[in-house]
């Protein structure tokens, strides 16, 4: 009897499997969403989950909400939901945010997961939950085109901070610098970390003015805020201002002037006094 039941179950599952299998060859698969599969997966996952106290109608509504995210929405939901649940986030917020990510792309989800872990975990940047959560949401959501660049730069800064950590520059302070630098990511087509690294090497190698690490990192942050041309402008100005072919300014003075020059690296349309006087 048991054998017969098992056989019937096998037949049944085969039929179900045959029904859900795409009839198209992979290269000719039509575009669009496998919404049925996403819905079923989401529904099963939600029903199995003991943390979510959903009744039947709530289960259906939740699975339909996730389903709006098209292909991969079920996976994105599960990934973000589990990340947040295991991080100790309130179950309601876990659900709400996971539904949001279900509607986004895999890349954004990847970024959020990587950034959140990097910012929050004790062995990484070890930031407080609120900062880590908000920053990872902002960075993953605000830069749709540069998702890979943000992650690569973030990982590079994480390594840099880990190697640089000291009493003067603790990891959390370095994390704050990282976040403020990543805000300028959109100005750097090749990523902000290479520029950071070049400028850091240049300043570290200058013998005339040796800045403490904290001051050096603050200076780099300021220069990078003026865009990708600013490091080059700063370096070239500083070299020339202190040289005999230039005005041969003392190092401190040359430093101040070079920074002033670097500030003008971003192309901005200035309103002259004459124009101002003509404004109503």
């Amino acid at each position: 009897m048991k054998l017969l039941s098992g056989f019937l179950l096998f037949i049944g599952l085969s039929v179900v499997h045959a029904e859900t299998k795409s009839p198209y060859p992979q290269d000719l698969a039509p575009t669009g969403c496998a919404s049925s599969e996403v819905f079923k997966n989401s529904y099963s996952y939600l029903k199995k989950n003991k943390e979510l106290p959903f009744n039947e109608s709530q289960l259906l509504k939740a699975a339909l909400d996730i389903n709006k995210g098209c292909n991969g929405a079920d996976k994105r939901f599960q990934r973000v939901f589990e990340l947040l649940v295991k991080s100790g986030v309130s179950i309601r917020k876990c659900y709400e945010l996971a539904v949001d990510f279900a509607q986004m792309t895999d890349q954004k989800t990847d970024n959020f997961v990587a950034l959140f872990k990097g910012l929050f975990l004790e062995n990484k940047f070890d930031m407080d939950f609120e900062t880590a959560y908000k920053a990872s949401l902002q960075l993953s959501a605000a830069l749709p085109k540069d998702w890979m660049k943000v992650r690569t730069d973030f990982q590079a800064f994480l390594n840099f901070c880990d190697n640089t950590k000291s009493e003067e520059v603790p990891v959390r302070l370095c994390a704050e610098w990282t976040l403020s630098l990543l805000k300028h990511e959109d100005k750097f087509p090749l990523g902000i970390f290479p520029s950071f690294q070049t400028l850091n090497s240049y300043l570290t190698g200058r013998r005339s003015v040796q800045l403490p690490v904290k001051d050096r990192l603050n200076l780099i942050r300021e220069i990078l805020a003026y865009g990708p041309r600013a490091p080059e402008n700063f370096q070239s100005s500083l070299d020339w201002l202190g040289s005999k072919s230039g005005p041969a300014l003392p190092p401190q003075k040359a430093h101040v002037v070079a920074l002033e020059i670097a500030r003008n690296s971003l192309q901005v349309e200035l309103i002259t006094d004459t124009e101002k006087s003509l404004q109503p």
């Binding site: 990340l83 295991k86 100790g88 986030v89 309601r92 917020k93 975990l121 070890d126 939950f129």
Partner: protein, 285 residues
């Protein structure tokens, strides 16, 4: 020779609270002498004679009976019969209370008792003294009996007046005398546990407890972005360290410590918060 004459013997003990007692009675016309007998519990104590209607004698406070008769009512020196026994009391004198020495106005939360040493003058004839402690409404909240004119009261915080009276073996009581100053004993609030040292890696919180108190620790958990605090555990600790279980789930934790004395009084809370983060290996890739 005794006559059959009965006289009305009206006795006026004048100073019945003193050891020198003065008796006076109405003079009987023609009397040349007066005899007085005083007894206590049927035991004759004094037998006195006087030519006047007043006499003084030393007596201790107590319950007595007195009778008298007159003599020399006529030329035959006739005597009246003894009057009937008439009782009178000599109450003990009121005590005089010495000034209070400095007392502990603020009491430690471990005992909540203040020692009040009292002393007063001994009252003649007093077999015991009664010390009544009245609260601010005048209700006697505490009463002690002592044989000597001193007492050590142990009072809880409050506002009190103290009244002392002497009492003879016969049950006669002196006038009650109040201590001139009222006594106010204040509670020192139970101080919160101090100097907290949090050791996350050892899952412990060390503190300096307040003497005579225990420390109640509540460990509560709040999920990130949540609003509710849920109790994980509550413990009453006699030592100076609290250890929590190592496998706490990730989230925000709050340790609330109170000092608690044996009267159930609690201190203000000392709160310490900490975060429990997940391990990288516990999170999805």
């Amino acid at each position: 020779m005794k006559t059959g004459l009965l006289i009305v013997f009206t006795l006026f003990p004048l100073l019945c609270q003193a050891s020198n007692v003065e008796f006076e009675w109405e003079e009987v016309e023609g009397a040349s002498s007066y005899s007085v007998e005083i007894r206590n519990k049927n035991k004759l104590l004094k037998s006195l004679q006087s030519s006047s209607s007043v006499f003084k004698t030393e007596m201790t406070p107590g319950r007595y009976e007195i009778r008298g008769k007159v003599g020399g009512l006529n030329r035959y020196e006739a005597e009246s019969e003894w009057s009937t026994w008439k009782s009178f009391d000599i109450t003990p004198p009121a005590v005089k209370i010495s000034k209070l020495p400095p007392i502990e106005n603020k009491v430690s939360p471990s005992s909540y008792l203040s020692n009040i040493p009292l002393a007063w003058t001994a009252a003649d004839g007093a077999a015991e003294y009664i010390v009544d402690v009245q609260d601010e409404k005048g209700t006697v909240v505490h009463s002690v009996k002592v044989a000597k004119p001193e007492a050590l009261l142990k009072l809880r915080p409050g506002y009190y007046s103290i009244h002392i009276r002497a009492k003879t073996a016969d049950g006669l009581e002196s006038e009650s005398v109040a201590l001139p100053e009222k006594i106010m004993i204040q509670k020192i609030p139970v101080p919160a546990p101090q100097k907290i040292v949090f050791k996350n890696e050892k899952h412990s919180l060390d503190f300096v407890p307040i003497e005579g108190t225990q420390v109640e620790v509540s460990l509560e958990m709040q999920k990130f972005l949540g609003t509710e605090w849920n109790l994980v555990e509550r413990q009453l600790i006699s030592g100076n360290s609290y250890n929590w279980k190592q496998d706490l789930k990730p989230g925000r934790y709050r340790l609330t410590l109170y000092s608690k004395n044996s009267f159930g009084e609690v201190s203000t809370p000392t709160v310490h918060e900490f975060i429990k983060k997940p391990l990288e290996s516990e999170l999805p890739k």
